[in-house]
């Protein structure tokens, strides 16, 4: 039997069901979650001691011995008929939206969305955690319609879903919200020619609302996670504070104005291939550099570094060019940051779960003392550098989780045969602001 904070009972029941053990015994306790003092622990355990003993010794029921298998769901194809407002209310009440209004996924709208792929609607990409929902092309299209996506986004959404399905085991939950109390959110970086086909923003306000591709791709991925993965807030998604990045966090790299090779080329893809790369940040920091030269830029980067596991630094084209002009390659920058972003050894605690184990000196061979400074990142492979953003001096850090170096984090985007025709049809959908 398992003792668990009472706020996590539904999460635990969901997790055990997904592992095929729906009758595991959980005992809710009043021990405060991740904020417990010894007196609360003792009081919380004392309250349930009788129940602990009973759970260990009470004979199990026939259902607990052999739970009855669930029958396969056979939902009706048309699940609701109603006005725009009624459909929205129905979907919201079903827990299927992100709280914002959706476009009704009608047969006609879904058919148009499916024109963005050569794959048949019933093609199964895999089963997405935690519910192991069947990630078919049609379900991706339905969620894409709801998010306001254009059919040309389908290849990206299929690549994103593949990335979720093939993410590093054990860390997949980060990308799908259903893991940890840390409110991790997927951060999608798009590289390659598709950026321009879709009008993905890599310039001014690239991470702000206002660009349909950046907005709808991230939103659709969030709905896919929610409705195909079966992730429910307060059940599987137990993020304490939540994270606005879960609405959408999509950026394209400004490859044209970068002095360095783009991210996907760095990861082994061809420049002419299009890719999607994912990490799962928790934190977004922006800061102004001390100066416009390498010293001013890089010293400010290491001074503004939050603690995390994986780091993406976004430099504007002018900063990237200034760095390159002084001879800084991406690898130099990564090595500099990983070596010189240091904090006192005394600031590390003993919590391995949050990356708080104090690293040793020189490849971990010598124990660090409180008085030593130790590297905050340590391994340059935990750092990613991209070029994006508009004119101006701000630098962005996107910090949180990500794949172990060498594990999958990038997926090639496969295009349908009629791609040029599709691009021609939808590329002109761009905002034209009023002149005043």
């Amino acid at each position: 039997m398992t003792l668990i904070n009472k706020g996590f009972v539904k999460d635990a029941e969901s997790a055990s069901l997904s592992k095929g053990m729906p009758v595991l015994k959980f005992l809710p306790t009043s021990v405060p979650c991740e904020a417990s003092l010894m007196e609360d622990i003792e009081a919380g355990v004392d309250e349930v001691m009788g129940d602990i003993i009973a759970a260990l010794t009470r004979p199990i029921t026939a259902e607990e011995k052999s739970p009855r298998p669930k029958e396969r769901e056979k939902p009706a194809r048309i699940i609701f008929k109603g006005s725009l407002e009624e459909v929205n209310r129905f979907f919201y009440q079903g827990g299927w939206t992100d709280g914002l209004p959706i476009i009704p996924p009608t047969e006609e709208a879904i058919a148009e969305m499916l024109s963005g792929t050569d794959l048949p609607p019933d093609h199964l990409l895999g089963r997405l955690i935690s519910r192991l929902g069947r990630a078919t092309i049609e379900k991706i299209a339905i969620n894409a319609v709801m998010a306001g996506a254009l059919p040309t986004y389908m290849p990206v959404l299929i690549a994103g879903t593949k990335l979720l399905l093939e993410s590093e085991p054990g860390f997949m939950g980060f990308t799908t919200f259903g893991f940890s109390t840390g409110s991790w959110a997927p951060f999608w970086i798009i590289n390659g020619p598709i950026r321009n086909d879709l009008n993905l923003n890599s310039g001014s306000g690239a991470l702000s609302p206002g660009d349909i591709a950046n907005a709808a791709i991230g939103r659709a991925m969030g709905l896919i996670i929610k409705n195909i993965g079966g992730i429910r807030k307060g059940v599987e998604d137990m993020g304490v504070m939540g994270n606005p990045m879960k609405y959408s966090m999509v950026i394209a790299e400004n490859e044209e104005e970068s002095p360095w090779e783009p991210l996907h080329v760095e990861y082994g893809f061809g420049r002419e291939e299009s890719t999607m790369t994912v990490s799962y940040p928790q934190t977004y920091v922006q800061h102004w550099p001390y100066g416009s030269d390498a010293e001013g830029i890089l010293r400010s980067v290491i001074d503004h570094l939050p603690r995390g596991m994986r780091y993406t630094f976004i430099f504007t084209p002018p900063h990237a060019k200034n760095l390159a002009r002084e001879g800084w390659a991406k690898d130099d920058i990564k090595k500099f940051i990983s070596e010189y972003a240091r904090i006192p050894g005394s600031r590390f605690n003993s919590m391995p779960a949050i990356g708080g184990v104090r690293p040793g000196l020189y490849k971990g061979r010598i124990s660090a003392r409180d008085s030593d400074t130790v590297a905050l990142i340590g391994d340059p492979r935990f750092i990613r550098i991209i070029v994006a953003g508009g004119p101006g001096a701000f630098i962005a850090h996107v910090v949180g989780g990500g794949a172990t170096p060498g594990k999958k984090q990038t997926q090639k985007i496969e295009l349908p045969k009629n791609w040029s025709k599709l691009v021609k049809k939808y590329k002109n959908i761009v905002p034209t602001y009023a002149k005043y």
Partner: protein, 105 residues
């Protein structure tokens, strides 16, 4: 964009279907904790160890002949037991009569 009927929009479900999975039951319970070996299983979170320490202490008071053994998964994700430590974990399980698990969340 959308096909509207006389009554409005006819919409499809975004909720994915899921295949039924095979279900497993739980092990038979023991009748008494006296003289039994109780496994204490925990994760890496802050409260997990102190919770189990208190549980062990309280159980020892009531069942002085019970023995205790612990298994800790200190990696930041639980899947580690299913991968790297599976064999070790299963061996540990074979040696216990009952398990109390605590997740420090």
């Amino acid at each position: 964009m959308a096909n509207r009927t006389g009554t409005g929009y006819e919409v499809l479900s975004p909720w994915a279907e899921a295949d039924p999975i095979s279900l497993r039951g739980i092990s038979p319970r023991i009748t008494d904790l006296g003289g039994k070996k109780i496994g204490l299983l925990r994760n890496s979170k802050r409260a997990a160890l102190p919770i189990l320490n208190v549980v062990e202490g309280r159980l020892k008071e009531r069942f002085p002949t019970a023995e205790f053994t612990e298994f800790a998964n200190l990696k930041p994700n639980e899947a580690i037991i299913e991968q790297e430590a599976k064999e070790k974990f299963e061996d540990w399980l074979k040696g216990v009569d009952a398990v109390v698990a605590a997740f420090g969340d």
